[in-house]
Symmetry: C2
Subunit: 533 residues, 2 copies
């Protein structure tokens, strides 16, 4: 079997809700600071401390706020300290400083309840500038980080962007999540982490792989960077290492997408002597047991919900439905038959009633939806309307009160209607549903809905009538369907393949492998017509 969890997607999805502030006494071990900027409290008053960090703010050249990854604290220039005063006067924001001084409790009226260290300040004895920042920085560290804002500039000055608390939190959150996954797999489930090579030979028929020319003495030959450790881990299973995992770097020369860069990382695992239920249970345990403490209230419980691929496509138009809202596709072909052209044999009209979505239908959103749907080759005509809209379909509908009565549409709801060939209508509605969910701001709700999508088809048929693997040629048919490989219609076979979906994002998945050499050879040679030698 195979399982994987794509880390970037998973941690990006989870990290939306995280506001963790690391606070750890060990953070000062092996350094010359005594405390982090985030940990000083009233009970430290009277202690001589050293803190190091970045100059966040300077008020009146007497109050300097120093920030590090753990928080911030105010340092104070005592009267008569001329040289410190001069240094503070010249300091630029984001310069790196080392401050030694005595912690004192602030007078009540000067306490800052918005600052966790706001009860105290450090009266400076020594103020050492470790490095001076330029007076003007190319990016502002004051603004909240938005993904879209100046992304090129943010990447160019990545070392400044990383100083933002949100970026620090995402890096720490991810590290923590992966560490918990490792602890679960290693300590609770007896898996062995093995590092497999990344300089590999090219996979025939593989998607876009990066190629690496070899140096001496192999000039003229090439390595290739693997898209996943798939072949290596199968060899490990053959080699008797029956419980393998790896936090594995994968490479795909397909350009950057928002959720996948040319190199990305997945928790990659493989287990011998198991079946689909075993792997699903394992991954559910992995997710639940390594769930971050910072979001206990959102921890899912096993078993997760399941849905067949056929149901997902029928009800939601996508193979990774976002179930935070329960809007489903319904057929209204009979009511909208006037839209049908006589030449259309294979025609339908379908609707999604999007409860509560009316307020999200800005004209900007409508325009963007039209543009995005128009880019699909399977695009179908569609309409998005509310009761307030001048009903677009009035003329077409046999019943004037179609929206209100047939669909039971309320003032606050929206109806997404699409018509054309069934397959394309489904896909179009699936996309519109996703776009509309995004617009409703459900992303900001504290909600985590996990879903297994199962029973995928094993093969798809290409336009030239050749069968191709829906996922990859090593996936096993569902138990009891093996014989259909030999004397049935392979298109009817469902695969032992399963995807894990979180809030509409495919965060993981896997499949049971064909372990019988003769069956594998048959699939490659007789069904896929690939060179299996």
């Amino acid at each position: 079997m195979l399982g994987r969890i794509t880390l970037q997607r998973c941690s990006t999805t989870l990290a939306t809700f995280v506001r963790c502030c690391p606070l750890s006494a060990q953070a000062n071990s092996f350094t010359y600071r005594t405390h982090t900027c985030g940990e000083l409290r009233r009970h430290h008053a009277g202690e001589k401390v050293t803190v190091c960090g970045w100059v966040e703010f300077n008020r009146l050249n007497r109050f300097v706020v120093i920030r590090d990854a753990y928080g911030h604290v105010q340092a104070f220039v005592p009267d008569g300290q001329e040289s410190i005063s001069a240094a503070v006067k010249n300091i630029t924001y984001e310069s790196v400083v080392k401050v030694t001084g005595t912690v004192t409790e602030r007078a009540d009226k000067h306490k800052n309840p918005k600052m966790v260290t706001g009860d105290v300040q450090v009266d400076i004895d020594s103020f050492e500038v470790l490095n001076t920042a330029p007076a003007t920085l190319p990016v502002s560290l004051r603004k909240e980080t938005e993904v879209s804002s100046d992304s090129a500039l943010r990447l160019k000055y990545r070392y400044l962007d990383l100083r933002k608390p949100q970026m620090q939190q995402i890096l720490r959150f991810r590290a923590n999540l992966v560490h918990r996954m490792r602890r679960y797999l290693t300590e609770e489930a007896s898996f062995v982490e093995v590092e497999t090579p990344t300089l590999f030979r090219r996979t025939p028929g593989g998607a876009a792989e990066f190629v690496v020319p070899a140096g001496k003495p192999n000039i003229g030959r090439f390595y290739s960077l693997p898209q996943s450790p798939q072949q290596f881990k199968q060899l490990l299973m053959v080699g008797g290492l029956d419980r393998y995992f790896q936090v594995a770097r994968c490479y795909r020369d397909e350009g950057s997408k928002l959720d996948r860069q040319p190199e990305f990382t997945q928790v990659d695992l493989e287990l011998s002597f198991t079946n689909q239920e075993g792997v699903i249970a394992l991954i559910e345990q992995l997710v639940c047991q390594s769930w971050p403490d910072e979001m206990t209230e959102l921890r899912p419980s096993a078993p997760f919900e399941r849905m067949t691929y056929a149901d997902a496509m029928r009800l939601y138009g996508v193979d990774k439905p976002d179930l935070r809202v329960n809007w489903q596709i319904e057929d209204i072909s009979a009511s909208l038959s006037s839209l049908k052209k006589e030449s259309n044999d294979d025609w339908c009209a379908r609707v999604i009633v999007a409860k509560g979505a009316a307020k999200s239908l800005s004209s900007k959103w409508r325009k963007e939806a039209k543009r995005l749907i128009g880019m699909n080759k399977f695009a179908q005509p569609f309409a998005v309307c509310t009761l307030k809209d001048d009903p677009l379909f009035k003329a077409a509908l046999s019943n004037q009160d179609f929206l209100r009565e047939k669909l039971n549409l309320q003032e606050e709801d929206a109806a997404v209607i699409c018509w054309g060939t069934p397959a394309d209508v489904q896909k179009t509605l699936g996309q519109l549903r996703t776009l509309l969910i995004e617009a409703t701001g459900v992303r900001n709700q504290k909600k985590m809905v996990f879903l297994w999508v199962v029973d995928f088809p094993l093969f798809d048929r290409e336009e030239d009538d050749q069968l191709v693997s829906a996922h990859h040629p090593f996936t096993a048919p569902a138990p009891g369907q093996e014989r259909l490989l030999f004397d049935g219609n392979p298109e009817e076979i469902t695969a032992q393949h399963y995807d894990l979906v979180l809030n509409g994002v495919e965060v993981g998945g896997g499949s049971i492998r064909i372990h019988d050499a003769a069956t594998q050879r048959h699939v490659l040679k007789n069904i896929l017509r690939e060179d299996s030698t």
Copy 2:
């Protein structure tokens, strides 16, 4: 600061002594086996079990030994089970089988005390062949693994080679060691693991890097695979992430060596606001705290021994001396002055008295030592002799009893003598010392000697008189020596660089970085004459 531990060297050095046998109840979770082949004991008698594994042995077609990564167990074909009997008769060694049956205690005379499961057997109810191995295997799994034996064949059939218990142990040992290091760094020392990119831009002046042509839309441009995450982690420090580590894949297009392949892995870490003592203490804690349970008796204790680079070169002729033996270099120029040619101004003769090494001086070893030393461009004439040798130097020595009286050589000792220019004599003796240590079999002694080598020179002078960095241009001078960068002899500067040596192998090291931009610019531009823009 920077620190790193090269994993392959470290785990290869440590794994020499490991004989761990994984035994874990969780190893059966999520599988259809009930037990591993290594865990059945007398108290399981009467239980119905399923084990899966590889056919190790077949006696009389009735007793089949099944092996998995956790051990092996005997399965027994009961009387009258014709179909099982037939299957067992046809089974080939290394075929994969699933066996269900009842655990029974063997009669006392049939118990096998050499086998941990030797008190019991599994009386077979069902014998399923999951996959059949060919009758003849290309490599034998019976032999003990030796590094040198048929290495090409072993690599070609890696999936068979990995089935050997020793290979399984090395993989598991390494995984365990790395997991303990991660736990220490994350949980005890508040470090954050960050994955840095491996598709990077080329470092000017870097050693042989692998180059990766970019695909669309960047055709004609190139990535490069980094030799280490050095630049990324420095950016992380600038970005305020003050305690970073990574188990990092590194790439060097320099061909394979026994202890370094084109891609290798190191535990890579960086810490802000620290000094050399801080980093050394951190790495000592990392090593001691993550020390494997399987070899507690060899656990080192901090602080480790230290030695200056100058002393290492003077006493041992290498910068990574193996201190499992205390043989040191001594000067005997005066005694051997008759070997000196008049033209030699800069001449010396030196000796290592290798206590107890006489028995290791086979003629094969002498021949091989001569060949290896002869390959050096700095090779100097040398002799290796014992009291039993017809003394090679009799004529040359003013005192006939030189070996016995001056060097206090005993019957069991060897003397390694070399003469020529001091620098080359040191290097030659250093190499001969290492070769002789190997020959004495000290490798098989249970002994772990850690050593810090410190106070390396910051710069070396090239033949064209240009100064170059002894390690890399970002290394800081020792405290108090900064001014020598500007108005002194840079060759006299010692660096804040330190290597960790284990049994003569450099397993790690690090350096404090220059954090001041003006100093760094001065080093690059005025001392190294590099383009620092």
